[in-house]
């Protein structure tokens, strides 16, 4: 097992640490991972899993981009292409981005930031992980047994594939996989909600919660309330496919538009399952690297909650051309604009936090700043799509593809990467090479913009999405987009090597390398198996930099004081 190696990549190195137990080394052997109920270990197992899924989805993306470099057949047949983009979308959404931040980083840090020993239901937490694994297995079966080429949206009647050229039985496996993955997501949400409500350390009242926790909490609410609807939708789809019950198949008297309503009732809220955790991470990064509490803390916290709730009311904006009534389109369009407000509140408050801060540009912060820049573009182009008359033209073109990559990659993935860079030292106790991290950042940032900016242009010019082949007029833009994707790929490879090297032979991480006031930096590095040797009492907020001494910020807290001096050196160099 890969995760096992994490425990002791460099022998006794960790234990050299004056006897303070840490969660990586206090138990060893594969069983100590496979049956662990420690949220930190489960978080790490999720982390490796979602990274694997991301690489898989990323390779699919590169195949897509290579095929689209030229019109006509470049690499593969139309049929194969359709499977590749379907798998790209499905893997990225269901296996990667939904569990990414909440299940990996959230699992690891939520209890620590709450000052508690574990999540509310540790066994359930491990259960969720194995349900995730089971769902993944079903998904892989779908890939092996047939050609799953429905798009990640599984629209009927194509996905039912009866009496028409359509998808085959692999749809049943795929939807079963996603169905199962959904329960993993639901149970994680249930767990987090109970944890946040009931397990806060003494002194940690709601107004002191880290904004990371507010974000994850809002996400959990959506996970619990939206995912079951997807589950039942997919269940009905499986029944339609196997028993022909006539719910979604028009040939049997069913309604394909009903499927779309059901699907988006989940999948729009799901986009906030994706972005809220990204925003949650960015809050931590902006605060830490500006050495300042987030401006308008309560407004930012409430904006997460209101995004979660408003997110339930706008699903119809994916269906403006579907043949819904005009009244529905009107209501959905109006509500769509409302979600811009809480998103805007976040952006404005982040920018205001920079004002009069003391800003460091370490690699995690670069991702956070890039998040703001890219999410602004992604979000504003979402408004283009919310405008009824404009969406009619842009729907199902590359403009939409560019929009959602700007929010999902430019937003969530950048937030995730920022979070990994930020917490890597805490999680594994190792530093990575900052210079290479910066190089990777620039590759990813530039590559990303080249890839998807060109897609905005071809999209508004009318290039439809899910096209294997295209008119010559779109060639230059497709070429640029593919080139960008390769740059992006190089960036990820550099980043991957950097992390692998750190993991194997990285410098030992100081307890608080970034000089953060966040609660998670108050414990030892890597954390104690119970997070804190003793239940902490929170006497200040996680962003109260003015209440921390210089020494605390740069040397770490508590018992770890003299553990390391390296951090000061690093900081001085930066400044």
């Amino acid at each position: 097992m890969t995760v096992d190696a994490a425990a002791a990549p460099s022998g006794g190195h960790h234990d050299a640490h004056d006897g303070v137990p840490n969660y990586l080394t206090h138990e060893t052997g594969w069983k100590s991972w496979a049956f662990t109920i420690d949220h930190k270990r489960i978080g790490l197992m999720y982390l490796w899993s979602v990274i694997t899924a991301f690489i898989l989805g990323g390779v699919m993306a590169l195949l897509v981009r290579t095929e689209l470099m030229f019109p006509g057949e470049t690499l593969m047949e139309a049929d194969t292409y359709n499977q590749v983009f379907t798998l790209h979308g499905a893997i990225m959404v269901f296996l990667f981005i939904i569990p990414s931040i909440p299940a990996a980083l959230g699992n690891f840090f939520l209890p620590i930031m709450l000052g508690t020993k574990d999540v509310a239901f540790p066994k359930l937490n491990l259960g969720s992980f194995y349900i995730y694994v089971l769902g993944t297995i079903f998904t892989l079966i779908a890939i092996i047994v047939g050609n799953i080429d429905t798009g990640w949206t599984f629209y009927t009647p194509y996905s039912v594939g009866r009496n028409v050229t359509g998808a085959d039985v692999s749809v049943v496996w795929m939807t079963l996989g996603v169905f199962v993955l959904g329960f993993s997501s639901i149970l994680t949400g249930v767990n987090f909600i109970a944890t946040v409500h009931k397990m806060r350390a003494p002194g940690l009242h709601w107004k002191r919660l880290s904004l990371f926790i507010w974000g994850i909490y809002a996400t959990s609410v959506i996970q619990v309330l939206a995912t079951p609807v997807l589950a039942i939708t997919l269940f009905l789809l499986m029944m339609e496919k196997t028993l022909s019950i006539g719910i979604f198949d028009p040939q049997l008297g069913g309604d394909p538009v009903l499927f779309q309503h059901f699907f988006w009732f989940y999948s729009h809220p799901a986009v906030y399952i994706m972005i809220l955790p990204g925003m949650a991470v960015v809050n931590e990064l902006i605060a830490t690297f500006s050495h300042r509490k987030i401006f308008g803390y309560m407004f930012v916290a409430m904006s997460s909650v209101s995004l979660a709730l408003l997110g339930f009311l706008v699903w119809g904006h994916h269906m403006f051309t579907s043949g819904m009534s005009e009244y529905s389109t009107m209501v959905f369009s109006a509500l769509t604009f409302l979600v811009a407000i809480p998103s805007g509140v976040k952006i404005f408050n982040w920018v205001a936090t920079l004002y009069e801060g003391s800003i460091s540009f370490a690699s995690p912060m670069k991702y956070a700043l890039a998040f703001i820049a890219l999410f602004t573009i992604g979000g504003l182009t979402g408004l283009f799509l919310g405008i009824l008359s404009v969406d009619i033209h842009l729907h199902d073109t590359y403009f939409v593809v560019a929009h959602f990559h700007y929010v999902m990659v430019g937003g969530t993935v950048f937030g995730f990467l920022g979070g990994i860079h930020y917490w890597w030292p805490k999680m594994l106790g190792k530093m990575y090479n900052e210079r290479w991290a910066n190089v990777a950042f620039w590759f990813v940032f530039v590559g990303f913009n080249v890839t998807f900016m060109s897609q905005f242009i071809m999209g508004s010019q009318g290039m439809p999405r899910r096209y294997y082949d295209y008119l010559d007029q779109f060639q230059p833009m497709h070429m640029a987009s593919s080139g960008g994707a390769y740059i992006l790929g190089v960036g990820f490879i550099i980043m991957g090597i950097n992390f692998l090297r750190s993991w194997k032979s990285g410098e030992k991480a100081p307890p608080n390398p970034w000089g953060s006031a966040g609660y998670e930096w108050m414990t030892t590095t890597p954390p104690h198996p119970h997070n804190f040797a003793e239940t902490p009492v929170m006497i200040r907020g996680p962003y109260d930099y003015d209440l921390c001494t210089e020494l605390e910020l740069f040397e770490g807290f508590h018992e770890d004081f003299e553990a390391s001096k390296t951090s000061t050196k690093k900081k001085k160099k930066k400044a």
């Binding site: 949400g189 249930v190 109970a194 039942i232 022909s244 006539g246 719910i247 009903l258 059901f262």
Partner: protein, 245 residues
Amino acid sequence: MSVHEHHGPAYLAHHFETPQQQFDTAKLGMWAFLAQEILFFSGLFVAYGIYRTWYPEAFSVGSHLLDWRMGGINTVVLLVSSFTAAMAVQRAQLGDKKWTGHLLIITFLCAGGFMVVKYFEYTHKIHVGILPGQYFGCPGFDCSVPPGHHFVEEVGAAIDAAHHNAGAGMVPYHLRSFFGIYFIMTGLHGLHVLIGMGLIIWIWRKNNRGDFSPEYNTPVDIFALYWHLVDLIWIFLFPLLYLID
């Protein structure tokens, strides 16, 4: 585990500070879970609502093919079991191990009774061929044999009953969708009953072991919450499926 410095009574898990906290957390978690259960079923109710409006004829005939007496018995049985589950909670809170056990058994028997009735309903439908989707009119899921006279008689009678006079109409095509919805809804509900029965066994054994006390009876309480929801869903399913005209 060397790092386990333990505190408090045995039932208190290591990551909780007080039994009260543990209880509140479990309860909140269960409520969150029930919220997802409701949304899970609500998708089905929406589908039901839409197709009932579209195909009132098929739904009316379909409902006449269901035996309201069987459904009625099951409703009563589940209501009783909900009541005994609530009683079990109260007994457990009082530390009455004996009656907690008895009440759990009664609840279990009611749940079992419910499943037995369901079993007879299902086997009869399978035998006759009143099945969902493409298997409608296929006795025993075998579409190579034509529907037998049972099928013809039953469906004919239901059509007559739905029209309040004899020889009134044809077999509505969308009966197959009605039975699709019927089997999915009652099937998923039945699955919940089975899971509930499993939970009862688990709690009953804990009770026998003497795990519960006035201080600690969370599992009984949590189970009862779940059981009430299962009951509640049936309270909606019964009239919507069996009693429409």
